[in-house]
Symmetry: C2
Subunit: 220 residues, 2 copies
């Protein structure tokens, strides 16, 4: 059957990137639609009426929303290069850490970027606590998936190159030598061809996040 795969995303979205990487990992050809979120397309509103958010994967006309749901769909639909292991317990582990990234780690680190003063200090403390759990999980492993990357690697993947953007804009380090395993993972992960070849340009990211930073922290 001729497959039709479309991906509605933005050029820089962390949630869209993980889907891009998953499709690349599977070797699936797709048509990308880069959305302007200040002027959402009719396609996006039609395909994701509940959240009106990217990413949306459209496979043979059927839309799937929510990036973690999309990753599972991709893994079940195209079996090559599995992102989830076979054993239910190992699957649960990857899902647990993916959820941890979205619900704990990502919001805490975003908080460092968007907040100020005491609230920023709290976000730093929460981020460090969360990063310690992630560091612990990497003990004895090359990737979160073990010897090969798995679903949790793609979900934590935003750290690998975006942290240095945050750090450059903020002017201080978030992930330093207190997290040697995570630093090693970031290096290893970001050098994988499917990641390296599908990462937004650093310069463009700096401009975008500098603008965001200025919006959150207007000159007084």
């Amino acid at each position: 059957m001729a497959e039709e795969v479309k991906l509605l995303k933005t050029w820089s979205s962390r949630f869209g990137l993980r889907v891009v990487w998953a499709l690349k990992l599977k070797g699936i050809q797709y048509e990308a639609f880069d959305e302007d979120l200040s002027n959402k397309s009719a396609l996006l509103l039609q395909y994701n009426p509940v959240y009106k958010k990217v990413p949306v994967l459209v496979h043979n006309g059927k839309p799937i929303s929510e990036s973690l749901v999309i990753l599972e769909y991709i893994d079940e639909t195209w079996k090559q290069n599995p992102m989830l292991p076979q054993h239910p317990l190992e699957k649960a582990r990857q899902r647990f850490w993916a959820k941890f990234n979205d619900e704990k780690l990502l919001p805490s680190i975003s908080g460092i970027f968007t907040k100020e003063g005491k609230e920023r200090e709290e976000a730093v403390a929460a981020s460090l606590e969360n990063l310690k759990f992630v560091e612990e999980e990497l003990k004895g492993k090359k990737f979160f998936g073990g010897e090969k990357i798995g679903l949790a690697d793609l979900v934590f993947g935003w750290l690998a190159n975006l942290i240095c953007v945050f750090e450059e804009v903020l002017g201080f380090k978030i992930i330093d030598e207190r997290f040697p395993l995570l630093l090693a993972w970031m290096k290893e992960f970001s050098q994988l061809p499917i990641i390296k070849d599908n990462w937004p340009p650093h310069d463009k990211m700096i401009i975008k996040y500098q603008e965001q930073y200025d919006k959150y922290h207007p000159a007084k």
Copy 2:
């Protein structure tokens, strides 16, 4: 192999109940440990060091946390009475709605209960908008899973009996005749033996939620 299945929960937790129902649906014998969250057990801290929250399923000594992750684990480990359909697209649909419950519907309805004044009005508006999506999803279906209950039914399951507790304590209706399909589903779902036989006593729930309500809304 002799199976050892333990479930750390509380007597009333919405997240724990969905796991209880899943185990009952599968016909799995388990030992329940009811936690006192003001004095968490060593077992809970050992098995869920990241969140220190219930529910935790412990299967042959291996802990699994986060209720949605646990439900998937149960479905993959014990194949009888599947909670997720075979087709990836139908699976994605159930996962989407389960996530929608946890991230949108449940927080919005909890907001009606915990907030006051303008904030409560906003929570009511958000809840109604979310409930409309749920109502729409039930069109042409008996259950969210189709003809039989699926994962999404267990996740939306708290609505079936807890809404009437909220409504009794609040003194007004949340789900009324604007949602005929949802009302029919609530009735159908709550009468299933695995649900009816495993629901905390209504009187005890009223006392618990009245106390919670009084805590959130102290007399001025």
